[in-house]
Subunit: 68 residues, 2 copies
């Protein structure tokens, strides 16, 4: 019953000039390990980090993270 959060970060990285985890981390202002953790769904990020990731790809949060 409870929904779950997935994300398309890995795909989006590749669609954006094969951006590396490190490059994304730098843009967003977090460590690479944080990107890895979010990308692999080890935990869901703060709203702030979610917004920054979405911003990096010029997308809405809903187009980066799915809640369903």
């Amino acid at each position: 019953m409870s929904k779950q959060i997935d994300n398309h970060i890995r795909r989006l990285r590749f669609e954006h000039q094969e951006m590396t985890q490190q490059a994304l981390a730098d843009q967003v202002g977090v460590s690479r390990q944080t990107i890895v953790a979010i990308e692999k769904n080890k935990y869901s990020p703060s709203l702030e980090v979610a917004f920054k990731i979405a911003d990096t790809f010029a997308l809405s949060i809903e187009k980066v993270f799915e809640y369903k």
Copy 2:
């Protein structure tokens, strides 16, 4: 330069049958104090709580939280 997160929770509560903080907290599954803190911008929520709040109002995250 760094953007900031605001929200329209209070307004949305009133637009939804004058929903109380407690009622929203119950729907979302957090404590009332958490709603107060988010509503008053004491901190920004986790992405999960943000999604649940948006869900409660049947809106996208961007229509509940503004990042700019």
